[in-house]
């Protein structure tokens, strides 16, 4: 059974289990235990599985390690410390591994010193790191003399499980610590790790103690099950949840830097932003500023220094595109208190100790309550200090969003995480890994797999389909031997083929490759990189944005493209490959309700003060919100939790339809594509889509104008999943995602015998495979996986369905209006440009239509 830790142990109780040097060291260094330590240390000592959720700076890492260190010291003292791995620490952040090692080696050395004072010698306790950076020399040293504490990543753990000799070393693990669980649970790296852990447990000498460490995340019961796993009866393994995420006080303020976010010109807005930022930086000792993008971080740091020379040398940018040296340098300066402010994208959100920060500023919505708390939690290093955060909204929708977000954060209304279910591509890798180690009974392997959280409900049929694929059963009979990576006979399976082991080593992992194309100016100066798929679509004359500047595409040569700077030109090609953080469905619904509430206020004279009071926002922000809503109400309708607004606007070449469905980008993604597919079917045309958190836009050619009846009909789609599945055919999204799934599922190999394969070729194979599999094997496991991944992980088809049911039940009514220009609420959607296109199903007809259209234009030109 999973329980919530209720007992907070006293200092004396915890000290009583510690061996003398550890106790003495701890007393001198810290004196007293922090809340997570009080709840967790003794329980881990007793052998309980524990999930700890607590803010940064609360001694979380030590609460996980203390029991284990204590045990190692005890063994050392008694001369019983052996050369084997006792503790395995897994973190998704490879960059942090060295920090963790240092943070362990320091205390271990200090404890050794204390022991010496107390009159005895302790043997050295070794800490080792094993990642893809580890040399084979170090690895062989590690094999001969294993470290007592091993630090690794999920990917390196999977490989270690198949290292013929080293895996023997892993059998002795007694404590497994998984850090940064919040960064894993929601993606396939987490699914991959969950299976690795069960495989490790299966080969281990004993049940090890599992310790999970996480930042604010919800619901913790699910995360605990994810870490602890399940037994063979399908019941979660027992353990404790330590939730001290409330321990730290946070104070969040929402600001708008100008009165009017609609009509203020951009230059005035940025003047106001920088002057406010400068003010905040001056008022505080050290300020941490978050932007949502890396180029944003660069721009803010640059502008602050340019506008306020007093900050020269005192403000730095920090993001993942910067070199490691630069980042380390910034981190060191920060720790030493030499900087007034650091501007970061996401790189300083997690992990590393960054010293004393007394204010965190978020520019733009962080899109999730959890992330907001995580970022703001970086302020006020000590647990008892209040974390102070300011969120600055730069546009109208942003302001509304952060107002609700901050309100939810204050009330601890967290976003729910979604853990992927039965990802079959990840299962392929592990079943192959398992087959490489020994011959398995099918039933036995199925049991191991189902102990992992993501696969707890995996059907035997799905499991077998993966085994059958690996055994080559989907290939033509004569080719079976060539493809097969395992044999499968009489209820057993094992490895097949000489190259299989190499294939596993080189292709394990879940993060897809995205080849980067370098961008040069004509005089051969490199400016940056873009994704290969983006670069491919460019045509000479196209203008696009890179790192905040605009460039015109001239030509491509091999893996490079050449451009000319076009300062101030309007981009003709939107950068639609950068995936933005999605707003959660829960938060989106709260914003719908807020819209309803604000709508009720706009005619009242005390609207501003009411809003200020209830949502704790400053006056200027409240005024800006009320002005925005009044503007919308005057021009059109305010969509809210009871109303969906659909607007039709005529453009030069097209009709545009704005659907104000505030259900978050992921659900809108599902809904918009299904709608676009229906329109494409009715009208025989391609349909362009633009999506954001607040709604979506469909763009159709002039001859395909939709009537009000047709627009209403869209909301009555019966089988959303099926329509969506058909809408995905021929989309770039499906092709790209299928390549990712085929890569993970070892259908298309990323690397083979040291060679990395060109993405273009992988893509063309993916497209052909997709076509053939759809015709011949519609039940092929990786084909089903790609649809599942897109609909459930990338999109949120479930909540899109829920939303449609509300419209059907008339809880939400649809209002259709026709406008000359889009209403204020539609501005942001209009500015996006394009997200994707649903192409006509009949390719031949589509090309014929393109032909007619283009020939008309050519005729019109001459």
């Amino acid at each position: 059974m999973i329980r919530w830790a209720e007992r907070e142990y006293t200092d004396d109780e915890i000290f009583s289990i510690l061996s003398d040097p550890v106790r003495e060291w701890f007393k001198r260094k810290f004196g007293s235990f922090t809340p997570p330590q009080r709840y967790a240390v003794l329980e881990i000592h007793k052998g309980e599985n524990v999930l700890i959720s607590s803010p940064t700076g609360s001694g979380k890492t030590l609460s996980a390690f203390l029991s284990a260190i204590n045990e190692l010291i005890l063994l050392g003292k008694e001369g019983k410390l052996e050369d084997r791995i006792y503790v395995l620490y897994v973190s998704p952040l490879r960059a942090l591994n060295n920090d963790i090692k240092r943070n362990l080696e320091g205390p271990l050395a200090e404890i050794k010193e204390v022991a010496k004072e107390l009159g005895y010698d302790l043997p050295e306790i070794r800490v080792g790191i094993r990642t893809s950076d580890t040399s084979s020399y170090e690895k062989s040293k590690m094999l001969k003399r294993p470290p007592h504490i091993l630090i690794t990543t999920p990917e390196s753990l999977a490989i270690a499980l198949n290292a013929p000799k080293f895996r023997e070393r892993l059998k002795t693990v007694k404590y497994l610590i998984i850090d940064e669980v919040h960064a894993l649970a929601e993606n396939k790296r987490g699914s991959h790790l969950a299976l690795s852990v069960e495989r490790l447990q299966e080969m281990a000498e004993r049940e090890f103690v599992r310790i999970g460490l996480s930042a604010t995340i919800h619901p913790l019961e699910e995360i605990a099950k994810f870490i602890f796993g399940f037994d063979d009866d399908g019941k979660p393994r027992p353990g404790l949840i330590v939730d001290v995420s409330f321990a730290k006080q946070t104070e969040i303020r929402v600001e708008s830097v100008v009165e009017d976010l609609i009509y203020t010109p951009a230059s005035v807005l940025s003047d106001a932003l920088y002057s406010r930022l400068a003010e905040l930086v001056r008022e505080h000792r050290t300020t941490l500023i978050f932007t949502n993008t890396r180029s944003g971080a660069e721009r803010v740091a640059f502008n602050l220094k340019k506008r306020y020379p007093e900050f020269e040398g005192l403000i730095e940018a920090h993001h993942s595109s910067l070199s490691r040296e630069v980042r380390l340098d910034v981190e060191e300066k920060l720790k030493r208190g030499e900087l007034k402010a650091v501007v970061s994208s996401t790189s300083l959100e997690l992990g590393i100790d960054i010293g004393t920060i007394d204010l965190v500023v978020l520019i733009g919505s962080p899109k999730s309550v959890n992330r907001a708390l995580q970022r703001i939690g970086r302020a006020g290093h000590r647990l008892h200090e209040v974390s102070k955060g300011v969120i600055i909204a730069l546009d109208r929708d942003d302001l509304v969003e952060v107002t609700v977000l901050a309100h939810n954060a204050r009330n601890r209304r967290l976003d729910r995480v979604k853990i992927p279910k039965n990802p079959l591509d990840v299962l392929v890798q592990h079943l192959l890994g398992m087959a490489l180690n020994k011959v398995w009974e099918v039933e036995e392997a199925y049991r191991v797999v189902r102990r992992a959280y993501p696969y707890r409900e995996l059907s035997f049929g799905d499991f077998m389909s993966v085994l059958r694929y690996l055994a080559g059963e989907y290939a033509g009979l004569e080719d079976r031997k060539v493809y097969a990576k395992i044999w499968l006979e009489e209820g057993r399976f094992g490895r097949r083929g000489k190259m299989t082991r190499v294939i596993y080593y080189m292709n394990t992992g879940t993060i897809p490759d995205e080849a980067k194309i370098r961008v040069y100016t004509m005089d051969k100066r490199m400016i940056g990189t873009v994704e290969e798929e983006f670069a491919e679509r460019l045509m000479p004359g196209d203008v696009f944005v890179l790192a905040g500047r605009t460039y015109e595409f001239i030509k491509s040569r091999g893996n490079k493209i050449y451009v000319i700077p076009r300062e101030g030109a309007k981009p003709t090609i939107p950068a639609w490959f950068s995936e933005m953080l999605p707003l959660s469905f829960d938060l989106a619904l709260d914003i719908q309700r807020f819209r309803g509430e604000a709508k009720g206020l706009i005619n009242r004279r005390d609207a501003v003060s009411r809003l200020m009071r209830k949502y704790g926002i400053e006056e200027r922000a409240a005024r800006a919100i009320i002005a925005y809503f009044r503007e919308q109400a005057r021009y059109s309708t305010v969509p809210d939790d009871g109303t969906v607004l659909v607007e039709e606007v005529e453009k030069e070449e097209t009709w545009e339809y704005f659907f104000h469905t505030l259900i978050g980008r992921r659900a809108n993604d599902a809904l918009s594509r299904a709608f676009a597919y229906a329109v494409s079917k009715w009208k025989g045309c391609n349909v362009g889509i633009a999506i954001n958190d607040n709604g979506f836009l469909l763009r159709v050619p002039k001859e395909a104008r939709l009537s009000e009846v047709e627009l209403r009909e869209l909301f009555r789609i019966e089988d959303l999943r099926e329509v969506l599945k058909r809408a995905l055919d021929n989309t770039e999204l499906l092709k790209r995602r299928f390549r990712h799934v085929a890569n993970r599922g070892l259908l298309i190999l990323r690397r083979y015998v040291g060679r990395k394969k060109r993405l273009g070729r992988q893509q063309v194979m993916a497209v052909s495979l997709l076509r053939v599999l759809k015709e011949d094997h519609p039940d092929f496991p990786l084909l089903r996986e790609v649809y599942r991944e897109i609909m459930e992980d990338k999109m949120d088809v479930e909540n899109a369905e829920l939303f449609l049911s509300w419209v059907r039940e008339e809880k939400v009514k649809v209002v259709v209006e026709r406008h000359k220009i889009p209403s204020p609420f539609a501005f942001n959607l209009e500015a996006i440009g394009a997200s994707d296109v649903v192409l006509m199903e009949d390719r031949r007809e589509m090309i014929k239509r393109l032909h007619r259209r283009i020939m008309e234009m050519i005729a019109g030109e001459s």
Binding site: D479, E536, R537, M539, I748, L749, S768, V837, R844, M857
Partner: protein, 226 residues
């Protein structure tokens, strides 16, 4: 001499049928590298057979890159045998104009295939196109030409094309695996650098017909506006 562009990505030149870039054995090469690749050879064979039956040409010319791998392998040889076997009911002449991928194919002479480096048919000279040759009017392959088409709602599709000029004709790749090289962005064959590409007409083969999109230069200019 009669010149007809066929929707099957083949060219009818007098009584000769010309195709280019078949890249037979591509699947085997991919399988050797550990991938799981369906075989499409049957489609290639049936597609050529269909045209041969309909058009009844006296000669079938493969304008280079009949096969894929630079390293001859027995599996590829088996594929080539299967390919010619599939065409066994065709009794006309078969000529291979050697392409840069066609290494170690001498043995197919035994199957009655003639191998040449270039072939003159009427006023046209057929070469694969990977290196420049002396001559006036050329028909080449090698480029795998394609063009990306756009429309007003933001659709973007890449289609294989014929390029047709007074002195140069470029054939699309016949292989269903060909990725297609967008000629508005980058060109591969030295022939295309020598001739003015913007004046070439773009012909798009689709099922049952070939659509003329006009000159490449003008097409590119118009689509830029979309």
């Amino acid at each position: 001499m009669k010149l007809e562009f066929l929707p099957e990505k083949a060219l009818l030149l007098g009584d000769s049928l010309v195709v280019a870039d078949l890249h037979i054995g591509f699947e085997e090469a991919m399988v050797r590298e550990g991938n799981y690749v369906p075989k499409l050879l049957d489609r290639v064979v049936s597609s050529i057979s269909k045209v041969l039956k309909r058009e009844r040409p006296r000669r079938l010319v493969i304008n280079g890159d009949l096969k894929h791998s630079f390293v001859p392998a027995w599996r590829e040889r088996r594929e080539l045998e299967a390919f010619f076997d599939g065409l066994s009911s065709y009794l006309g002449e078969i000529v291979l104009v050697r392409g840069n991928h066609d290494v170690g194919v001498g043995w197919i002479r035994k199957l009655g295939v003639e191998i040449v480096d270039s072939l003159e048919l009427g006023r046209w000279k057929l070469v694969h196109g990977h290196r420049l040759e002396e001559g006036e009017r050329f028909i080449i392959g090698h480029e795998h030409p394609a063009v990306r088409l756009r429309d007003e709602v933001g659709a973007s599709v890449k289609v294989p094309v014929f390029l047709r000029g007074e002195r140069l004709i470029v054939l699309p790749a016949f292989s269903p695996w060909a990725y297609g090289n967008d000629v508005t962005r980058e060109i591969v064959s030295p022939f295309l650098r020598k001739f003015d590409v913007s004046k070439l007409r773009v012909l798009v083969p689709i099922e049952g017909e070939v659509l003329d999109f006009g000159e490449l230069g003008r097409l590119t200019r118009v689509m830029r506006g979309l």
